[in-house]
């Protein structure tokens, strides 16, 4: 049982590492998706272990949210690209201090 959670944890951390290290917004976004998926895995595993179904339901909502977020995020990335001509995270530096 813990194995699943450990795998979930590892994937979550890899996702976090990706967010931390990468500057390409698309890759960062994909890393975020990884993190969400890690949580999904955890939910399904726990739900299975506890003989419950609510975790699985949660997963469905996470997916919905992920989809919605993907739409908005990609929209913003596109808009950003249109304005700056790049999807480098560091170019978002107009607002500071």
């Amino acid at each position: 049982m813990n194995n699943y959670l450990i795998v979930a944890g590892i994937i979550f951390c890899i996702g976090a590492l990706g967010v931390l290290m990468r500057k390409n917004l698309i890759i960062v976004f994909m890393s975020l998706e990884l993190m969400f998926n890690a949580a999904n895995l955890g939910f399904v595993a726990v739900s299975n272990r506890l003989n419950l179904i609510s975790g699985d339901i949660f997963v469905i909502f996470v997916m919905v949210v992920a989809a919605a977020e993907a739409a908005v995020a990609l929209g913003i990335i596109v808009a950003f690209y249109r304005e700056k001509g790049t999807i480098d995270m560091d170019k978002a530096n107009e607002l500071k201090n």
Binding site: V19, L20, K23, A92, K96
Partner: protein, 627 residues
């Protein structure tokens, strides 16, 4: 209020009213205010005389006008004590004041501050009267300071002159130094006795520990040192001569400066229970007498010479009270008031005649041109030198005799030497001013003063030559002694008479000293038997010392004033601005610096924001680990 209390309160009322009237409406009264002021004081004088006789033929009394300060256990009223001591002072103060007022009408005639002058002169008289009659220490202290204030105002009367306003300020501040001691004495007195009323205090003195009494007495004496210009606080008096001359006569010779002596006499119970304190009084008095006379020897400013002689004569008075001879002290106080007042008035007359010239080196031969002035001046000089039958002879002799008879030989010797020096310097002045060949500017029209000035001078000269007879028969048998001694019965006889040298022996010595002094002056300045310059060169260092007033002012300046100013500057520039304010601004600045740092976290880089967030996550999770 019966008759005598009404009179008591009327005496200060007149000058008080005068102050307000001339102060507020002086500009409408013009020259008239001088006459009115003199009249007011004159009335006070007459009332004082009446009161004198009332007291002389019945007994003293106390009266409270209204309750004044009432806080906690401290209850003080505006109240008066009328006994023989205070009536004598009253008569003296109002009498001399009346004469000086009249004199001033002439002297200040053309001054544009005429009304202001009389206003403050009246205020001074009021304060002095209140000082004399006050029945508790607080009231005494109030008017003690008030006379100081009037002195400040009147010294700085011609404020446009920097030296005048400086002198006024100096007088006030030096007096404050003395008052600081005086105030502390009052605090201690109140702490020990829980009252400020004279009678209650005096009733408790015998039960108090000697040390306490000594400390209190010495602290009070500090006030007297300031007010009566004794060493080391004498520095203000010579400078005070920047004021109008009648002011010098009234305040800096006759009345205010004697307040210190009066105070000690008033507190005789306290002082007599502390031989140590009395001894200090004696030492300070003796030293000052000599010291001031020494400085007076070489001065050229006539008013300053007379001023130093005042300091010196006050020293004599302190000698007297220091050995418990309160009547002798008071006697000298009265006679000194008259002859010194006279000297100042005449000096003023000289100035008047010479259009304000004060330097001896620019005078000479005035006798022929202003006879009245000269003669009255000589009367004063003789009285000062202690030549019989002038008053100074009787009063000074009474002191010196007591000093000798009570066994203070050294003090006596110093007193005699001082007497010699006194005679010398005052006659040096007389000879140089009136008899030596004239060095007056040719263009100056030298003239005798108007009647309004000379008449008070003549009256005073007459008094100076006659008042001494109150002092016969000599010593403890005199009229004066018998009259006043009643008030001193409570005093402890701490310095009993140990010798019984006949009075005439001692008197002869004194007179001899005086005559020798006069003779030396005669030799030097009239006969020119000895060249003064030669002597000057012979004793160059001593001469310089005397001429520069023993450098006391310079020493004060160097040791106290300058270091203090540097220290204060340090406090302000370094401690206040750099350290305290610096700390405050430093804190503010530190926040500014933090802000710069904090804003670096917010550098606009998404990467670093993610990093911050992750660090937060790691830290929060770590908390669980170390919990």
């Amino acid at each position: 209020m019966d008759f005598k209390t009404s009179i008591t309160w009327l005496i200060p009322l007149f000058p008080f009213a005068g102050w307000l009237l001339w102060g507020l409406f002086g500009r409408y009264l013009k020259g008239f205010s001088g006459y009115l002021a003199s009249a007011f004081i004159g009335i006070s004088f007459i009332l004082s005389v009446i009161l004198f006789f009332i007291v002389a033929y019945s007994h003293g009394f106390t009266d409270t006008l209204y309750p004044w300060v009432h806080a906690g256990t401290l209850k003080v009223g505006v109240s008066a004590v009328i006994d023989r001591l205070s009536v004598i002072m009253l008569v003296m103060v109002t009498g001399v004041s009346t004469l000086v007022h009249i004199y001033s009408i002439g002297y200040m005639q053309d001054d544009k501050g005429f009304s202001r002058y009389f206003s403050f002169l009246n205020l001074f008289v009021f304060s002095m009267i209140m000082l004399v009659i006050s029945n508790n220490v607080l009231l005494l202290y109030v008017f003690w300071e008030a006379v100081g204030f009037c002195s400040y105002i009147l010294i700085g009367f011609w404020y446009e002159k920097k030296s005048a306003s400086d002198a006024g300020k100096k007088a006030f501040i030096v007096n404050r130094v003395g008052d600081f001691g005086f105030a502390t004495g009052i605090f201690l007195l109140f702490m020990t006795t829980k009252t400020l009323n004279y009678e209650k205090i005096f009733a408790m003195v015998p039960t108090m520990p000697t040390l306490t009494v000594t400390v209190i007495a010495l602290l009070l004496f500090a006030g007297a040192v300031g007010k009566s210009a004794q060493f080391p606080l004498h520095v203000w008096l010579p400078d005070a001569m920047e004021g109008p001359t009648p002011v010098s006569a009234l305040i800096h010779a006759a009345t205010m400066v004697t307040a210190g002596v009066y105070m000690i006499v008033r507190f005789h119970v306290l002082f007599s229970y502390s031989p140590t304190a009395s001894e200090v009084v004696l030492i300070v008095g003796t030293f000052t007498a000599f010291f001031a006379a020494f400085i007076a020897l070489t001065q050229y400013d006539i008013k300053r010479i007379v001023a130093y002689s005042t300091v010196s004569q006050l020293g004599y008075m302190f000698m007297a009270v220091g050995i418990g001879s309160y009547t002798a002290g008071m006697f000298h106080l009265i006679s000194h008031a008259i002859f010194k007042g006279l000297l100042f008035l005449t000096a003023g007359s000289v100035m008047h005649g010479l259009s304000g010239e004060l330097d001896l080196r620019k005078m000479g031969g005035l006798y022929s041109k202003m006879k009245t002035t000269a003669i009255t001046f000589i009367v004063g000089g003789l009285a000062l030198s202690g030549i019989p039958p002038f008053s100074g002879f009787f009063s000074k002799d009474a002191i010196l005799a007591d000093v000798y008879n009570k066994g203070y030989y050294f003090a006596w010797a110093v007193g005699e030497i001082t007497a010699l020096m006194t005679a010398f310097y005052i006659f040096r002045l007389i000879f140089l001013a009136f008899f030596a060949e004239s060095k007056v500017d040719k263009g100056l029209h030298v003239h005798e003063s108007p009647k309004i000035m000379t008449i008070p001078m003549i009256i005073m000269a007459v008094l100076a030559s006659t008042i001494g007879f109150l002092g016969i028969p000599p010593l403890n048998h005199s009229v004066f002694y018998k009259f006043l001694h009643v008030d001193f019965l409570n005093a402890k006889d701490f310095a009993p008479i140990v010798n019984n040298m006949p009075w005439y022996v001692l008197s002869s010595i004194s007179v001899a000293a005086g005559l020798i002094g006069i003779y030396i002056a005669y030799l030097l300045y009239i006969k020119k038997a000895i060249d003064p310059e030669k002597i000057k060169n012979m004793f160059k260092p001593v001469y310089e010392l005397s001429y520069n007033k023993v450098y006391i002012d310079e020493i004060y300046d160097f040791l106290i004033v300058k270091p203090m100013l540097v220290f204060f500057g340090f406090l302000w520039k370094i401690v206040d601005i750099k350290i305290i304010d610096g700390a405050v601004n430093g804190v503010a600045g530190a926040f500014g610096n933090f802000s710069v740092k904090a804003r670096k976290i917010q550098n606009g880089m998404l990467m670093s924001y993610i990093l911050t967030l992750s660090i937060g996550v790691a830290a929060v999770l770590f908390y669980y680990f170390i919990r």
